[in-house]
C-alpha cells in the first residue's frame, strides 16, 4: 500500500502537464462566471468613491449593499470567499447539503462533465505512466467518455440517493432526534461530527468503488461499465485493508494540503498574493486528486495476476494499458 502510494506520487510527478492541464481547466471554467461577477461588481460600484476602499481591501458596507440587490452569481459573493474561509464554506456546503445558487449549478455541472470527459485520458496516462501526447490523451478521453458517462449515470443515482435520502435522514431526522434534548453544544457537535464521519465514510466508500471501476475499465479495456463496477467491488472486497488504507493515506495528503493552505492563505488586503497562493493550493488539490487515481491504479496494477509472466509488448496506443502493465 505504501509502495502504491509512493508509486502514485511518482506517476503524478511524471505527469506534470496533467496537473497543469487540470488546474487550467478549473481556472478556465471559472473565468466566464467570474467575468459576470466582475461586471456586476464594477456596475454596482460605478464611479463611486466606495470603490477606492473596495479596491484596497474589504469595504463591508458596500459589500452588504451589493448583496442586497445581487442576483445570480452575485449572490455567491459573500464574506466566506475570503482566504481559508472559502475552503470551509465549500466543505461545509457539501457536508450540510447547502444548495448551490442556480447560476453556479450549471458551472459545477459543466465541471463535472469535463471531469468525466477527462477521466479516461487521465487514467490512461497514469496507468501507462509515460508520455502519450495530446492526441493520444484526448483520444483516450473520447474513447472513455461515453462509457464513463454510463458509469456516471449509475454513480449519479447512488450519490443522489445518498444526498437526497441518507443525508436528510442522518442530519434532519437522526441528528434532530438524538440532540432533541441536548443542552450542551459540545455534545451536539460530537454527535454531528459522528454523523459527518459516517456520511463521509459511506460517500468515500462509494467513491472508492467507482474509482476502481474506472481504473479497471481503463486498465482492462472494459466496455461494460456494470462489469467494471462488479469487478471493482470484487477488487475492493478482496483487498479491503489495502484499498481503504491507501484511500485514507491519500485523504491525509488532502488534509495536509488543506492544513497548509489554512496557515498560508492571505487575507483580502493582499488580493494578488491571495490569488497566487490560492492557485498554488488549487494546483496541489489537483495533484492530490491525481494522486488518488495514480496510487489506486498502481495498487490495482500491482495486483494483476499475470503481471511479469509475459513478454513486454511494444507500447503502442491504443492497446490497453494492461498490456504495458504486464510488461513491467
Amino acid at each position: 500500500m505504501i509502495a502504491a502510494f509512493r508509486d502514485g506520487l511518482g506517476r503524478v510527478r511524471r505527469a506534470t502537464w496533467l496537473v497543469v492541464g487540470l488546474w487550467l481547466s478549473t481556472l478556465l471554467m471559472a473565468v466566464p462566471p467570474a467575468l459576470v461577477l466582475h461586471g456586476m461588481i464594477a456596475d454596482h460600484l460605478g464611479a463611486s468613491l466606495m470603490a477606492d476602499a473596495a479596491a484596497r481591501g474589504v469595504n463591508f458596507d458596500w459589500w452588504n449593499e451589493f448583496l442586497v440587490q445581487a442576483a445570480g452569481v452575485g449572490q455567491t459573493f459573500v464574506p466566506a470567499i475570503i482566504g481559508f474561509a472559502a475552503v470551509l464554506d465549500n466543505a461545509s456546503r457539501i457536508a450540510d447539503q447547502r444548495a448551490l445558487v442556480p447560476a453556479l449549478a450549471g458551472i459545477v455541472g459543466g465541471q463535472i462533465l469535463l471531469s468525466v470527459f477527462l477521466a479516461g485520458g487521465v487514467l490512461d496516462r497514469l496507468a501507462r505512466d509515460r508520455r502519450v501526447g495530446a492526441h493520444a490523451f484526448f483520444s483516450a478521453c473520447g474513447l472513455w467518455f461515453f462509457r464513463f458517462l454510463r458509469l456516471g449515470v449509475v454513480a449519479g443515482a447512488i450519490y443522489w440517493a445518498l444526498f437526497a435520502w441518507l443525508h436528510p435522514w442522518l442530519f434532519d431526522t437522526l441528528y434532530a432526534r438524538w440532540t432533541h434534548d441536548t443542552t450542551v453544544e459540545r455534545t451536539a457537535f460530537l454527535v454531528r461530527l459522528g454523523l459527518y464521519a459516517a456520511f463521509i465514510a459511506i460517500l468515500c466508500t462509494v467513491n472508492l468503488v467507482f474509482d476502481y471501476a474506472k481504473i479497471r475499465a481503463v486498465v482492462e479495456d472494459r466496455r461494460s461499465m456494470i462489469g467494471a463496477l462488479r469487478a471493482s467491488v470484487r477488487f475492493v472486497v478482496r483487498h479491503p485493508a489495502k484499498a481503504l488504507a491507501l484511500y485514507l493515506l491519500n485523504m491525509l495528503a488532502y488534509l495536509l494540503v488543506v492544513g497548509v493552505y489554512a496557515l498560508a492563505a492571505p487575507g483580502a488586503s493582499a488580493p494578488l498574493a491571495a490569488f497566487a497562493v490560492g492557485q498554488v493550493y488549487i494546483v496541489l488539490r489537483v495533484a492530490v486528486r491525481l494522486q488518488f487515481a495514480a496510487s489506486q491504479t498502481a495498487l490495482f496494477q500491482g495486483k494483476l495476476a499475470h503481471a511479469g509472466y509475459v513478454a513486454r509488448p511494444v507500447p503502442t496506443w491504443p492497446d490497453s494499458p494492461a498490456a504495458e502493465a504486464v510488461a513491467r
Binding site: 478549473t26 470603490a51 463591508f60 458596507d61 464574506p79 443542552t183 467513491n207 490560492g278 488549487i282 489537483v286
Partner: protein
C-alpha cells in the same frame, strides 16, 4: 331572589373593602424608587420531572388611574403556547416560521390554567370568588382560540388611589422553550409565568394579548417570591435571595425579593456554575454581578463580566446609575432558545462553545441585555405598542458601548451546522452600519411605519424596524447634533422617565426641549413615516469655460457671434438628487484637482439640486453626505462620483478572490467523478 342578591352584594362589598386595606407588609415598606402599583407575593413549586408549576399569589394592586376600575385584566402568557391556533403562534406562522415550533410533541407545548381568583382577605386567605366572571378576552384580534389575556369583574369599583388585594392560584405546564421561556433537559428558564395584571391607565386597562414579536408592559411594584425547586439545584432570579430553606422532602425553598421592578423571572438547573464579581466605579453605586454559567463555557466568565461591567459603566455615565445592588447574568443552555432576554435585575446572555475572542459573542448580547436594565427595566415604556423605545434605544446604546469598550470586533462566519466559527480579520464590524443593523434595515425600510403599534408590525421584518431603524435614526441624530448635545438629552429623558411609562411623544418633547431645536420634522420622517432615505450624486463634470453664441461687446452694441474658450478656467457642474421620499439636510462636498474643497449644505427637500463652479482646476469628486450623518440612507454607494473611478480595480481584486473560491467548489464536486 332580589333580597338574596342584595345581601350578597353587601357582603361582597364589605369583604372587598376589607381587602382594599393596605396588605400586610412583607417587609417594612420604604419609600421606593417607583410607584409600587402592582406588588406580588408568590409561592410556587416546580415539579421538574413532570415539568409543571403550581403557584399561588397575593397581588396588591392600587388603582393609579383617574377613573374607577370595574374589572381586572390578567395576562396568562403561557397560553400563547397552548396550541398552534394561539395568536402568538399564528403570528409566527404569518411571519414564515415553520417546522419545529409548530410540529412539537405533546409535552413540548405549554399552558397556564387559573384555578382560583378571589379577593383576598387581609391575612391573604381567599375572599370573594371572582372566578364566575373570569373569561378569556381577545380585544386585539378577536381570535377566540387565544387565551393569553383574561378579564374578571370586580364586585365594586376600585376608586383612583384605592387598593385591592387579590388571591390567585394557577397551575402550568412548562413548555419546551418558546420565546426564551421553558425547559430543556435540566435547564428551566421561567419568565412571564404567573398571572399578571395589565396596566390601568387614564382611559382604562392597557392589556393586550401575547403577540409573537412584542414583549411586555407592567406596573412597578414589590416582589416577594418563594420558589420550591429540587434540592441542590442552582437558582437565579430577579432580586436578591433573602432565604434558603430545605423542606422535609427533596425540595429547597429559595425566597427572592425585589422592590421597584415590574416583572420577576427565574431560572434553575443543577448544571450551572456560579461566579461572582463586583462592579465598582467612583461615581456609580457598586453592583454585585452574579453569573450562572454553563460548564461548557468555562473560561468565558471574564467576557460576561467585562461586558456587564461595561454596560453598567457606560450606561451609568451616559444616562444614570443602576440603582439595584445586584445583577444576575444567566448563560442559557444550548438549544434553549434563550440566547438573549432581559428581565429586571436578571438577563440571559447566550454564548457558543467556540466563541473567538475579538468577536461580538457573548459581548454584544451581554451588553445589550444588561443595557435593558435601563431601557425597559427602569424606563419602562409599553413594549407591546412602542417596542422601539426600549429595543431601539438599547441597540443604539449597546453598539455605542461596543464601539468604545470592545474593539476591534471582527466578523465571524460559522460553518458545519454553525458549530465551527472562522474569524475574518479582514472585516472589522463598524458600529454605524453593522452594529446598528443597516444591512437588515435596507430591504425592510418601507415595510412598516414605526409609529404603528409594534404588535401590528409585519412579523417577518419587525426587528429591522424596531431595533435597526431606531438605532440608525438615533445614531443619525447623534451625528446631526453631536454626542455632546444628544447625551444630555438622553440623560434627561432617563432621569425624568425612569420608573415610569413614557410614550413616544415624551421622548420627542424632551429632545426638542433639551436640544434647543424643533426636531419634529425629523421624527415625522423617521417615526411617522416608512419613507426611505436615498440621496445620490447624479452628475459631475468639469469642462473649460466656453461661451458660444451672440453677445454684446458693450451696452447698446450690436449682437455679435462669439466662440470663446478659457483653457485655464473650468466650469464644474454637480447635480445631486433625492431618490427616496424622505428628506434630511445633507452636505455636498466637491473636491478639485488642486486640493480645493467646497462644502455645500443642501436642505435635501427638492428632488434635485445643481451646483455650479468656475475654478482654475477640474473637479475630481463629489460626495453627498460625506460625513455619513444620515445613516438611514439605504444606498450610500450612489452618494459619490469620482473622476478617477476604481470600480474596475475593485472588481479585479474581488473577482480574483472569488475565482479561488469557485475553483475549490468545483474541485469538491469533481472529486466524486
Amino acid at each position: 331572589m332580589r333580597l338574596r342578591r342584595q345581601v350578597w352584594l353587601i357582603a361582597a362589598a364589605m369583604m372587598f373593602l376589607a381587602g382594599a386595606r393596605p396588605p400586610a407588609p412583607l417587609r417594612a415598606q420604604e419609600p421606593g424608587l417607583a410607584s409600587r402599583t402592582a406588588s406580588y407575593r408568590i409561592d410556587a413549586t416546580l415539579d421538574a420531572a413532570a415539568r409543571t408549576i403550581t403557584g399561588t399569589a397575593v397581588i396588591t394592586w392600587r388603582n393609579p388611574g383617574a377613573m374607577p376600575a370595574y374589572s381586572l385584566r390578567l395576562h396568562l402568557y403561557w397560553n400563547a403556547w397552548r396550541n398552534t391556533d394561539s395568536t402568538w403562534l399564528s403570528q409566527r406562522k404569518l411571519g414564515g416560521i415553520t417546522g419545529s415550533m409548530l410540529d412539537r410533541r405533546e409535552e413540548d407545548f405549554g399552558w397556564q390554567q387559573l384555578t382560583e381568583l378571589a379577593l383576598a382577605n387581609p391575612d391573604g386567605s381567599p375572599g370573594l370568588d371572582l372566578m364566575p366572571t373570569f373569561r378569556y378576552i381577545q380585544p386585539d384580534d378577536q381570535n377566540a382560540a387565544d387565551r393569553s389575556l383574561a378579564a374578571a369583574d370586580l364586585p365594586m369599583a376600585v376608586a383612583p388611589g384605592q387598593s385591592v388585594q387579590l388571591r390567585v392560584a394557577w397551575k402550568a405546564q412548562v413548555p419546551r422553550t418558546f420565546s426564551r421561556t421553558g425547559a430543556i433537559g435540566n435547564y428551566f428558564f421561567i419568565a412571564h409565568w404567573f398571572p399578571k395584571l395589565g396596566v390601568f391607565e387614564a382611559d382604562g386597562w392597557n392589556a393586550r394579548q401575547f403577540f409573537a414579536n412584542t414583549e411586555f408592559y407592567a406596573d412597578f411594584g414589590s416582589y416577594d417570591v418563594q420558589l420550591r425547586v429540587p434540592r441542590g439545584w442552582v437558582v437565579g432570579a430577579t432580586g436578591r435571595e433573602v432565604s434558603r430553606t430545605d423542606t422535609n422532602g427533596d425540595l429547597t425553598i429559595h425566597r427572592y425579593a425585589q422592590d421597584d421592578v415590574h416583572d420577576f423571572a427565574w431560572t434553575t438547573s443543577p448544571d450551572y456554575e456560579e461566579y461572582t464579581e463586583r462592579f465598582e466605579h467612583e461615581r456609580l453605586p457598586a453592583v454585585t454581578m452574579r453569573l450562572l454559567l454553563q460548564p461548557e463555557h468555562r473560561g468565558q466568565q471574564d467576557r460576561h463580566f467585562a461586558a456587564t461591567a461595561a454596560a453598567l459603566k457606560y450606561y451609568g455615565e451616559w444616562y444614570g446609575p443602576y440603582p439595584y445592588p445586584q445583577i444576575t447574568i444567566v448563560d442559557p443552555a444550548w438549544q434553549s432558545g434563550a440566547g438573549g432576554m432581559e428581565y429586571p435585575t436578571l438577563f440571559t446572555a447566550g454564548s457558543r462553545w467556540l466563541a473567538p475572542r475579538l468577536s461580538n459573542q457573548p459581548e454584544s448580547v451581554t451588553v445589550h441585555e444588561a443595557g435593558h436594565q435601563f431601557w425597559y427595566g427602569m424606563v419602562a415604556n409599553n413594549e407591546v405598542t412602542s417596542a422601539w423605545m426600549d429595543e431601539g434605544f438599547n441597540t443604539f446604546s449597546e453598539e455605542r458601548v461596543q464601539s468604545v469598550a470592545f474593539q476591534p470586533n471582527y466578523h465571524v462566519e460559522r460553518f458545519f451546522g454553525g458549530f465551527i466559527p472562522w474569524q475574518l480579520r479582514d472585516i472589522k464590524r463598524s458600529r454605524a452600519t453593522d452594529g446598528n443593523g443597516l444591512n437588515g434595515y435596507r430591504p425592510s425600510a418601507e415595510r412598516d411605519v414605526p409609529a404603528t403599534p409594534s404588535y401590528r408590525y409585519w412579523p417577518g421584518t419587525h426587528a429591522d424596524i424596531t431595533y435597526s431603524k431606531t438605532a440608525l435614526w438615533l445614531h443619525t441624530l447623534e451625528r446631526h447634533l453631536g454626542w455632546d448635545r444628544l447625551q444630555p438629552v438622553m440623560a434627561a429623558y432617563f432621569e425624568r422617565f425612569r420608573f415610569t411609562h413614557p410614550v413616544p411623544d415624551d421622548f420627542f418633547a424632551i429632545v426638542n426641549e433639551k436640544s434647543g431645536q424643533d426636531l419634529t420634522w425629523f421624527f415625522d420622517q423617521v417615526h411617522r413615516s416608512s419613507n426611505e432615505f436615498d440621496y445620490a450624486a447624479e452628475r459631475l463634470e468639469s469642462v473649460p469655460v466656453a461661451t458660444r453664441g451672440f453677445v454684446e461687446s458693450a451696452p447698446g452694441a450690436p449682437l455679435a457671434f462669439e466662440a470663446q474658450e478659457n483653457a485655464t478656467l473650468f466650469r464644474t457642474t454637480v447635480v445631486v438628487r433625492r431618490l427616496g421620499e424622505a428628506t434630511f439636510p445633507v452636505d455636498v462636498l466637491v473636491t478639485f484637482e488642486n486640493g480645493d474643497q467646497v462644502r455645500e449644505t443642501w436642505d435635501g427637500q427638492a428632488r434635485w439640486q445643481p451646483f455650479l463652479y468656475e475654478k482654475p482646476a477640474k473637479a475630481v469628486s463629489v460626495q453627498v453626505d460625506p460625513d455619513r450623518v444620515l445613516l438611514l440612507d439605504v444606498h450610500y454607494t450612489n452618494n459619490s462620483i469620482t473622476m478617477k473611478p476604481q470600480a474596475e480595480r475593485a472588481a479585479d481584486t474581488w473577482t480574483l478572490q472569488w475565482i479561488v473560491w469557485l475553483q475549490d467548489l468545483m474541485m469538491n464536486y469533481a472529486f466524486f467523478v
